[in-house]
Symmetry: C2
Subunit: 495 residues, 2 copies
């Protein structure tokens, strides 16, 4: 059964004094009014971590009650930071099954009321335990991804900074035109470079902010102007050290494959996209993984203007997570709201895209390991009917073989990626130097070094010495004094 | 599209040394083997509060990875303590939509590793904030329900105890025959009465235990022996003080109405049921709400043996939550596993029911406010084909009118229900006397009294004086010395 959109709503994103349930109720009321409905057959709510951010459990019930829809079935869905898209997918199946006619999809998160270090700690729980225990945060892992992207595609740190600045400047420009955005201000290249370092080389303006907000969509089996034409969803390894590549996400590629197949569309059919730019490098990698650009060439689209609002393939016309804000559970659904506004021609004079007939949303859960791709289109769109659809998107999915050799507790290694993290989670001292180190057997491990506090002292691909201390891997540069020190340490040990 | 069951699996419930993901992987491996599958199109996982019990977020991804199914889409679903049934429902729609063929449904919880007061605090977060802030726990609210049931149906406290003991003895007997049960031991009436008071009048043997465990089901669109024939889901008010009745759950009734309608069956067609006996009174109320017995007469089925293993309508042949154990996220799905074992004739010689052709599971989320009813049947069951199905289940749904008059901060009131709670959550002193008090305007409020420590001093329907202290309602018996004290207090206040 086909699934259509009959209503949308959202709060302005930002720092709010309202409770999470009030914000979600505001978005829901707007969507129900838009759909001209007083009630629905079911509510699907997306919140990522209401347990720790707000201290509530059984939130689906509280929401039904707050909405004055007591009685209506209400289910909570969660897929980490792609939750807004995950809850949309679950509701899509409920309507597509034919068992439910009108379903309210509702997503939100309340985050700004907590101290930043606590919020950072809660957000870090999406990271695999083996990496999180070192103090690794989402910005820290994204910083490693950024470094690896620069190394792999031979972009100097300076060049990389210029590219990331272009993403930030573009998305802030778009966000300045979006009444729902947290930051309605333009930023300049200079603002970008003046912003503080969060996790080297990522600055404040590379990272989506901490945000409160809610978004809502009503799905229905009754034909309307907008149709959900494709949804794809895929996971990847929990730990990033188990990935064959850090510079592209298998989960986006596999999700996109499924979404394009369901919609019988190809990347070239997509007119605009909302891409999960929780970190500036993620937008670039996202546009490559979705098949819009070749691997390693996504950054060129920023330089030649393709992904600008007036370009051929506008990316994040809403301002993206970067500028609209990122209430983690809500962002995926806010992407849908933007796409629907654009498809309906209701995005407002300044932001409205021409030829907005097919839009795609890519949502990233965790560090690229629970990703969802959704395609929406106008029902009145002329489809060139061919004899059967031919896919022209054939991404390469690289996977590490599963039998991993346990790394030696001590010995030589190579820095695969590193970062110096300044915004540490609760319980960790700042700054914190983290390295993803490839040990001799080939396996990668997360490691730290409390002595390095300046990123200039480290290089990608550098040879290091890996040792074990109190259950943690430490890495040190292999210098003559380092060797001497380790010899000295050994000498000291009782034999 | 019809949805069938092709595989089941579960761990033994109890206190486990394994991690939550290991337990869930064990149940999943069993279900996949049973379904003769190596992979699936999607994984739906149910965990109620993995954030606080285990300290993880992004658990759906971790599970896919642990199962060696990296790549497969994985979604977490939660509906409080009915999560196991909620995740089954979401997966049911995914298969029914025709978009996915084989879906692994997986549910689990790990709870025994934490101190009981902390577990109690986490479990209490399903309760509405306005009631939870007084220290109300699930057993405390269930105790109030129990008291109200006794008052409404004129059963003395002694009689009520005998009835509850019969539920506990029956379910422990059934559980003693279930290799997956946490408690494989029979208990006697004397054991019941010797067990400690948790929240007056509920004893240890009235309450489901704290448990670790996981259960799994594979749903498929390929015809198999067992069909999912009906699912219904409904919510109720977040706070119990907003209910018109405490002795029946609207959410069960509305869910049952939908499930019977989808299955085109009536209560009399059900051959056996798993009913959410988190507390002994809930089994009795559940069997009434499901239309098996008249309101206020469910307890008679225990006395006349109807719900025993050899009765006409066995209830909780598995031992129920009481004896199988209650890993909160897993229980709903464990109910399905039991029903499927019975339908397949694989429940084992001692527990196998005759005429097990149609089974029903009722799962309670929170304090009866997110309930799900699921009906499963054998595909080879002979259905007497009539000219259209005629429903004979017409439950009464009582709802409080929405405009609630704010209660006066001070004044006379009546005890609607009360309890003395001994097993208090983290941060609250034991014992704790809680009362649901009807104020003059008609609204009910939660209130406490730190001076009463003995339940014998209070009575249902007693007149009390309600006052406000530091933002909390206090209630006191209206005695001459109480009146004097309140006059004295007033006198003291600056005018």
């Amino acid at each position: 059964m086909d699934v259509f959109v009959s209503g949308i709503g959202m709060t302005r994103f930002g720092k709010s004094k309202d409770s999470l349930e009030s914000m979600m109720a505001e978005a829901a009321a707007m969507a129900l009014r838009d759909a001209d409905l007083e009630s629905v057959d079911a509510i699907y709510i997306g919140v990522m971590n209401v347990e720790e951010f707000v201290g509530d459990s059984n939130f689906a019930t509280l929401l039904a009650d707050t909405l004055n829809l007591t009685g209506v079935p209400s289910t909570r869905v969660e897929t980490a930071s792609s939750t807004g898209a995950g809850v949309f997918e679950a509701a899509f199946y409920a309507v597509a099954s034919g068992h439910l006619k009108h379903v309210l999809v509702l997503a939100g998160e309340k985050m700004t009321h907590l101290p930043t270090a606590k919020t950072t700690r809660i957000l870090s729980e999406v990271i695999d335990r083996s990496e999180r225990r070192y103090g690794a945060t989402m910005p820290a892992l994204a910083a490693m991804v950024a470094q690896k992207y620069g190394q792999e595609y031979k972009l100097s740190p300076e060049r990389l900074g210029e590219i990331f600045a272009q993403v930030a400047v573009k998305n802030h420009h778009n966000g300045s035109l979006n009444p729902y955005a947290q930051f309605r201000k333009e930023i300049t290249r200079d603002d970008y470079f003046r912003s503080q370092m969060v996790s080297y080389p990522l600055r404040l303006y590379d990272c989506a902010p901490i945000t409160d907000g809610a978004s809502a969509v009503v799905l229905t089996s009754e034909p309307s102007r907008i149709r959900v034409s494709g949804i794809g969803h895929a996971t990847d390894t929990s730990a990033i050290r188990h990935r064959a590549s850090l510079t592209s996400f298998n989960s986006t590629k596999e999700a996109a494959l499924k979404a394009y197949a369901m919609a019988q569309l190809n990347p070239s059919d997509i007119r605009f996209a909302e891409v999960h730019d929780a970190f500036t490098p993620f937008e670039i990698i996202g546009t490559e993984d979705l098949g819009f650009f070749q691997q390693g060439e996504g950054w060129k689209a920023l330089e030649n203007g393709t992904t600008q609002l007036e370009g051929n393939l506008p990316v994040n016309p809403s301002g993206g997570l970067k500028s609209r804000g990122h209430p983690v559970g809500a962002s995926g659904l806010a992407q849908m709201v933007e796409i629907i506004l654009q498809l309906r021609g209701e995005a407002g004079q300044e932001r409205q895209l021409e030829k907005a007939e097919v839009g795609l949303a890519q949502s990233v859960g965790g560090l690229g390991n629970n990703n969802i791709v959704t395609i929406l289109e106008r029902c009145d769109r002329k489809r060139v009917l061919k004899e059967g659809w031919k896919p022209d998107y054939h991404p390469e999915i690289k996977v590490l073989k599963k039998e991993i050799i346990p790394p030696p507790p001590e010995g030589p290694g190579v820095i695969e990626a590193f970062t110096v993290l300044y915004a540490t989670p609760e319980g960790f001292r700042s700054p914190l130097t983290l390295g993803l180190v490839r040990a001799k057997g080939g396996e990668k491990v997360m490691a730290c070094n409390p002595d390095y506090r300046n990123p200039k002292g480290l290089k990608m691909g550098q040879k290091v010495h890996l040792s074990m201390k109190e259950g943690f891997y430490l890495f040190e540069k292999r210098t003559w004094w380092g060797k001497l020190a380790s010899w000295w340490k050994k000498k000291d040990k009782p034999s």
